[in-house]
Symmetry: C2
Subunit: 365 residues, 2 copies
């Protein structure tokens, strides 16, 4: 039996001139963009070193593909739907590519204009095209009031998740109660709050030997840290209906994090503040989620973590994603897993969190 799945982490690829087109006139020159420099295509975003991304360019169906190496479905909803259909994927939670780096823009005016323009484009291009696309809005958090206003705005637009930077702004970590209005606003619209790896920081931590591998690990450590902040500090306890999703971090570490937090909570009780009503893992099991693609370790750990925190994801159209071999990947990592658990991890929980039910209940999911 073929089962359609939902991907809890996929990416759009912004048109090269999205911000040049959409930013107010006085900001256009400083717009985030892709530029050809000495024959190499670079992402140029204020506050970040220029950066090459995507896979090596192959073919030239479009300038975007040539610049980023990604498939045209990254920016075209119809081509995207075709790719998904061939690969057995129904719905997707959509994260950006260039806008991932927008959290680092130092100037609040430029940062917020960048976020709003992205959220508008995402709405018009994907969210409006099909209910199978659940857009995650870019929400910087340096200015909490502005963040809350933008959450209200994107909820009205039909975007379905609030994407905050994985690394909180300096001096204002996620255990601070300054973010309570953000959690409250997301919760009031039943929008999960998601944190994509590598955001809010320079994702290039190490340039020496092993750097590419080390950096991919390092951004994953950020997900572990952020989930610990949210659970141990009482954010999840105070907002019991808030759901938080760590994105593109894999899932195999989650059992460890739960045990590690609970060990400190119980064995170092004399130092623990606040005294949560339950051990930290309780809140992660109830409200925390992680997305994973190829890695099977998270699935093996489901007896520790519970099934609810696990969200399968394709990471389309990134080179480390599962497209166009999603069925083979799923067969491998879910070997020996019962249909009910598999369906919850690959479809149901994401459907519930983001509104990605199949439109016709008679269609086999």
């Amino acid at each position: 039996m073929t089962q359609l799945v939902n991907s809890a982490d996929s990416h759009v690829v912004e048109p090269l001139d999205l911000w040049v087109q959409r930013l107010p006139k006085h900001l256009k020159e400083r717009a985030p963009r892709i530029e050809e420099v000495d024959g190499r295509w670079l992402f140029v975003v204020e506050g970040m070193p220029p950066r090459k991304m995507g896979g090596p360019s192959q073919g030239s169906e479009s300038r975007t593909k040539e610049a980023t190496g990604f498939r045209p479905g990254g920016s075209d909803p119809d081509l995207r739907a075709k790719d998904l259909d061939e690969d057995g994927v129904w719905g997707e939670v959509l994260y950006p590519t260039i806008a991932l780096f927008g959290y680092m823009i130092p100037d609040p005016e430029l940062r917020w204009a960048t976020a709003r323009a992205y959220n508008d484009w995402l709405t018009e291009t994907f969210a409006a095209a099909s209910t199978r696309f659940a857009g995650a809005a870019m929400i910087p958090v340096q200015e909490v009031d502005t963040a809350v206003a933008e959450i209200e705005r994107v909820a009205g637009l039909g975007l379905r998740s609030v994407m905050l930077p994985m690394q909180a702004p300096e001096g204002a970590p996620y255990n601070s109660d300054r973010y309570d209005p953000v959690w409250a606003a997301a919760r009031s619209h039943a929008m999960p709050v998601s944190f994509h790896v590598g955001t809010g920081m320079n994702p290039v931590h190490e340039r020496g030997p092993g750097g590419a591998v080390i950096n991919y690990v390092e951004v994953g450590l950020g997900a572990q840290r952020t989930l610990a902040y949210l659970a141990a500090s009482g954010v999840l306890e105070r907002f019991p209906e808030l759901h938080v999703v760590m994105v593109e971090c894999g899932a195999g570490w989650l059992s460890w994090l739960m045990e590690r937090m609970d060990e400190a909570f119980e064995e170092h009780a004399g130092w623990v503040k606040p005294k949560l009503a339950e051990p930290p893992s309780f809140y992660v099991r109830r409200q925390g989620h992680v997305t994973f693609g190829n890695d099977g370790a998270g699935v093996v750990n489901r007896d520790f973590t519970g099934v609810e925190p696990l969200l399968w994801a394709s990471d389309y159209p990134h080179p480390e994603g599962t497209w166009p071999h999603t069925r083979e990947t799923l067969a491998r990592i879910f070997a020996g897993v019962g249909d009910d658990e598999r369906r919850r991890i690959t479809f149901d929980t994401t459907a519930r969190l983001y509104g990605l039910e199949l439109p016709d209940p008679k269609v086999d999911a």
Copy 2:
């Protein structure tokens, strides 16, 4: 059948006046020490904020116990052996308590004098008392030549492991070839190189809500990072007989780290340097190890990680350790695990790495 186990991570507790007694006269006033300040006992080590440690004081068998809250077996080998015997533990790899913070001493003269005095005391007090105590020598790495000389010296004393700081000195990460003489020296004496969580850094990362739990997670992330540096950069490939041990970090994350590193190695191949002959996980399976106590997730993941990297540990006499309930803990986390695998994780691998075989082969291990 009762099986004796080895603990790959246990702690001595240094006498309050170890360094005051042993440092050269002109350094005595700056010696690492435990001091009573306003009725609280604090560890005072140059380069670190003064710090309270150990559990709450109960009883007063000794000044050390009163100051640190740890059992007297922390500094007395005979009392220690009694505790181990009652708990079903044969051998132990011994790490320090106060000296864990010595890596942060800014002045090289004081730092090295602190290391040598600790290594001497450990040798005289524990290593000389019984072969069941495998001492890990404190080896700072800011000055590589001095580190190599101290490794040679402690190998001669009979210490059995080289303990480096988990966090490498600033500007000199562990992927740098400047450490090659250190790896070579450890290898030439068949001494595993170990990295204890929380060393080489201020282990108090977060003081706000959830801090105690967050910090315990954060020091564990350091172990993941360091192992990635050693594997991805080619250190383990270039020194194929070197063994590295991440200590007190738990084991449940290891499957994730292996998959994460391999994913980057394969999918981001265009950025990967050096091109290792095998994916990074290969080297971790062959030469990497992690210690864990209470947590069962690492055991569940053994089909991914292999059994060799897993080293059980009691963490005696720390409050989060398994003493005096080691047998119950083992029964819980090894439920359903075959005797052969259990024995390798709880005895054999540690015995082989550190020379902790039972003295009489007829005794049941």
